[in-house]
Symmetry: C2
Subunit: 169 residues, 2 copies
DNA sequence: GCTGAAACCGATAGGAA
DNA sequence: TTCCTATCGGTTTCAGC
C-alpha cells in the first residue's frame, strides 16, 4: 500500500501534511466554525499547536477560505443547469472573451475547460427554468464565439458538493 | 423589473429574507469566519440583531453549514473528472444501488441526476489520472447497472465553486 | 425588533519545559 | 515542538427602549 509513503510527508504535494493536520482539515471541511479548543480535543493536541497549524495552512494556501454553504431552494434558486459549451475556433479572441464573461456573470457558479465533447462545462443557477432560458438567450448566445450549447437540467441532487477526500495523504 | 416584488418578502422562497439578511448571507459566503461585530459593522446593524439573524437562518436551514475550502492541488488532488453515467434500465434496483455507491465513495464529491444524454453527472477527484482509471475499473464499472460512462477530464478551472447569487432577492 | 452594557467564554501571544 | 497561563476580544444574554 502506498499509504505509508504519505504518512508524514507527502512528496507529491506542495505542502507537507502529517496526521494531525489532515485531521484538522477533515474537521474544518465538516464545520469551519469549530473552535480551536474543540479541534484540539478531537485531534489530541492542545490548543496552541492546533491554532498554529491552522494559521500555517491558511498562509500556505492549503486552506483557501471559509464559506457558508446555503440551501439553494431556501434562497430561491430552485433551478440548476449543467451546460456544455463549444466555441467556434475560427473567431478571434473567443477564449478570452468567453472566460471573461464567465467571471462576470454570477449565475455561472462554476466553469471548467475539459477534454471530450465540450470545450467547457458550466454550472448555472437561477430562480426557475424561465430565468435560465432568459440567461441563455440574453447572455450565452450573445457571446460572439459560442457555437454549441447542450443544457442538462438537474433533476435531483444525489450528492451535494462534498468535502475533499484526504485519505490518500 | 420584478426585483421590487422580492425586496422584503420573497413569496416563492421557503424563507423570508430582507436586505440586511441578504447582506449577511453574501458576507458569510465570502468569509464564514467573519465575527458578528465585523458583520454588524458592514450591514449597519448592531451585533445583537445581526447575531439573531444568523442564528435564525442557521436554524431555518437557509445556512446549511460552514466549510473550509481547500486548495485541491495542495492536498494532492490534482486530478478532477466530470463523468456522465448511464444506467441500464432493465436491471433490477440499479438506481438504488448506484446512488448508494455514490454516497459511499469519497472520491465522488458531487452527483446529480440530470435531463439530457446522461442519467447522472459526477464530479470525481483523485491524486492523478492513474488513480481515476483505477477508480473507474474497480468501482464504477463493477456496479451492476452501469451501461455507459463518458469521462471529461478537467484541464483548467475557469471559475471555482462560487457563492450563490442573491441579487434576485 | 433594536440598542447598549455586562458576563462569559474562546482566541491569541508570551514564556517555560 | 508542545503545554500553560494571562490578556484581550468576541459572543451571547439580558434589561430597557
Amino acid at each position: 500500500m502506498r499509504k505509508s509513503f504519505f504518512k508524514w510527508r507527502c512528496m507529491e504535494n506542495k505542502y507537507p501534511l502529517d496526521g494531525a493536520s489532515v485531521k484538522i482539515l477533515k474537521a474544518l471541511q465538516q464545520d469551519a466554525r469549530l473552535s480551536v479548543q474543540d479541534l484540539s480535543g478531537r485531534i489530541g493536541l492542545s490548543s496552541t499547536p492546533t491554532w498554529k497549524r491552522v494559521k500555517e495552512m491558511e498562509k500556505a494556501g492549503v486552506i483557501d477560505h471559509y464559506t457558508a454553504v446555503l440551501n439553494r431552494a431556501r434562497v430561491g434558486l430552485k433551478n440548476c443547469v449543467l451546460a456544455e459549451v463549444n466555441l467556434a475556433r475560427h473567431v478571434e479572441n473567443v477564449v478570452e472573451e468567453f472566460e471573461k464573461a464567465v467571471q462576470e456573470h454570477d449565475a455561472i457558479i462554476e466553469c471548467y475547460a475539459t477534454t471530450g465533447q465540450a470545450d467547457y462545462m458550466l454550472k448555472v443557477v437561477t430562480p426557475d427554468i424561465g430565468e435560465y432560458d432568459a440567461f441563455l438567450h440574453n447572455v450565452i448566445f450573445k457571446l460572439p464565439g459560442v457555437s454549441e450549447i447542450r443544457s442538462s437540467v438537474v433533476l435531483r441532487e444525489i450528492k451535494p458538493p462534498s468535502p475533499l477526500p484526504l485519505d490518500h495523504l
